[in-house]
Symmetry: C2
């Protein structure tokens, strides 16, 4: 966590947002958008996924995105890698942080990355072994977000005991940090509290990564409040909530970065992000994807009269 912020907002729009829509955003437009996001103060951006271009042609330019984004100051460039092959490509492109999405649900795992949970854990182990062959200074951080940790659209409820056991196995496999993902928008605030408390007890606070929440049922920010109670300090979100289900107008995908940052700053938690600049970045996004449906409440009505950003707390 950089010293000048209290909460890290990790922008996933260029990956999770873009992979959820059919159109492909041109590489130049992606880079303009990533630039605008970084200029607004975002310190971590997931720029793409090293998945097979046959499966997700929208992500075929991930190598170039990593290389170019690495030139931006004060930015951690994150890339999703589904497997060892993706990790090899990511490392070759110079990615400094990888994120892997093993699923706690067997059915979802087989559908999403073609792997059972056990096979996905083995894959994390292989990626960590690859990392460890590199000179220490060149090793990328390997973060894991357990998918469907709060329930699965295919299986329904997912065993909470199994999710926590899986987190322990992933830590043993060598993952640097492990978070929980509400892939399906099923989580509720009490479940969030219970699961992050258990996660912290299982793997220790230093290995606990953040919460990846979806706003599918409107519960996104409510779940953030619950996670904050359990000392979660990293949240994934997407500018404009990009990636909402096309069959459910209003039911957005990821939580909306603009609304999240507004809430955190209003609560007195520093994000380092300028909300006006964030709202301006929506135009850059729409320039690259004209007429795409994007979401967000704050951008529609603006900041409250007399709004002030969070201030540094405690002794200077």
């Amino acid at each position: 966590m950089p010293q000048n912020i209290d909460v890290l907002v990790s922008e996933v729009g260029p990956r999770d947002g873009l992979q959820s829509i059919k159109r492909t955003m041109p590489t130049k437009a992606k880079l303009d958008w990533i630039q605008a996001l970084a200029a607004a103060g975002l310190q971590e951006i997931e720029v793409g996924s090293f998945v097979s271009p046959r499966l997700l042609p929208q992500m075929a330019d991930c190598d170039e995105l990593v290389k170019e984004s690495n030139k931006i100051k004060n930015l951690t460039v994150l890339a999703l890698v589904p497997n060892l092959k993706g990790a090899e490509r990511a490392i070759a492109a110079g990615a400094r942080k990888l994120t892997m999405p093993p699923s706690a649900s067997r059915t979802h795992g087989l559908n999403n990355i073609g792997k059972t949970p056990e096979e996905a854990i083995d894959e994390v182990k292989r990626v960590c072994a690859l990392r460890d062959t590199l000179p220490v200074k060149q090793r990328p951080e390997v973060e894991v977000g357990i998918s469907t940790a709060f329930g699965c659209t295919l299986e329904g409820p997912v065993s909470e005991d199994w999710v926590i056991e899986m987190a322990g196995l992933l830590a043993k496999a060598g993952a640097d940090s492990i978070g929980l993902s509400d892939t399906s928008g099923y989580a509720n605030p009490n479940q969030i509290k219970r699961m992050f408390r258990r996660l912290r007890n299982e793997i220790g606070p230093e290995k606990m990564a953040g919460a990846h929440l979806h706003n599918t049922r409107g519960q996104g920010l409510a779940n953030v409040v619950a996670a904050l109670e359990e000392e979660v300090t990293t949240f994934d979100s997407s500018l404009g909530g990009l990636g909402g289900c096309p069959y459910a107008p209003g039911a957005t995908g990821n939580i909306v970065t603009e609304d999240l940052v507004f809430m955190l700053e209003a609560m007195g938690l520093r994000t380092g992000i300028d909300i006006e600049a964030l709202i301006a970045a929506r135009e850059v996004l729409l320039h690259g994807l004209p007429e795409e449906m994007i979401y967000g409440s704050l951008p529609e009505v603006g900041l409250p009269k007399g709004f002030t950003y969070a201030k540094a707390r405690g002794p200077m």
Copy 2:
């Protein structure tokens, strides 16, 4: 609080929702909607406002709505009264519970009900004096919701000390219970916690009414989670978030009843409300107000696979 629920969801759509839109819903259609809401399990509904029909012609049928809604079993019928004259009409119509909206912001109070905060407190005193002239069994409950308690679109920040002082003065004036209203959609979760904690300390838990929250900036359910931490157990909401600002698509007015009930039940808090019946009530609402814009995430995507309602807790 009825014994079979943990949280009381108080539906304000027929009052707050309808007064925020220009069209007038026919009385018969309002009654059909109120019936559908009660049939879904809502135990308290604010059916209208005894404001001058010249100011809000949409509310001119409040007398009839109170009389007819009083016939519905297991339903507390609530009516808004801005002043003594409104209270006289409400009592004549047989209202058993009145709610008054004095504003903590001087500018908002003068604009909204033509009264300074001090004058509004005096008006509550007059209404309570009227109540006390009635035989004990006929006295309506007088609830007060302090408007602009978390900030004002006209004045900006509102003094938190003054809001709490005002709550104390309203309790002295004879109000049976006092809650806080985020009229402008300015509240954040930390402010909600701080203010309800102070309110409880000031007037005591037995006089503490609920939270009236707006979702203008997408913070509605996040604020509910915060209020639950401070033992708030009554929440106002509106079916379909009816009453959203017409100039801000997506920026709804009241929090959406459907999303609220889903969250509470998922958290294990019983509301007594059937979510499928609530979603069906949207059709009844739209039948009375064809093509009106309504909101809500849950209704777009449905309940999670394997969803179960909250169960009674503790020893039977």
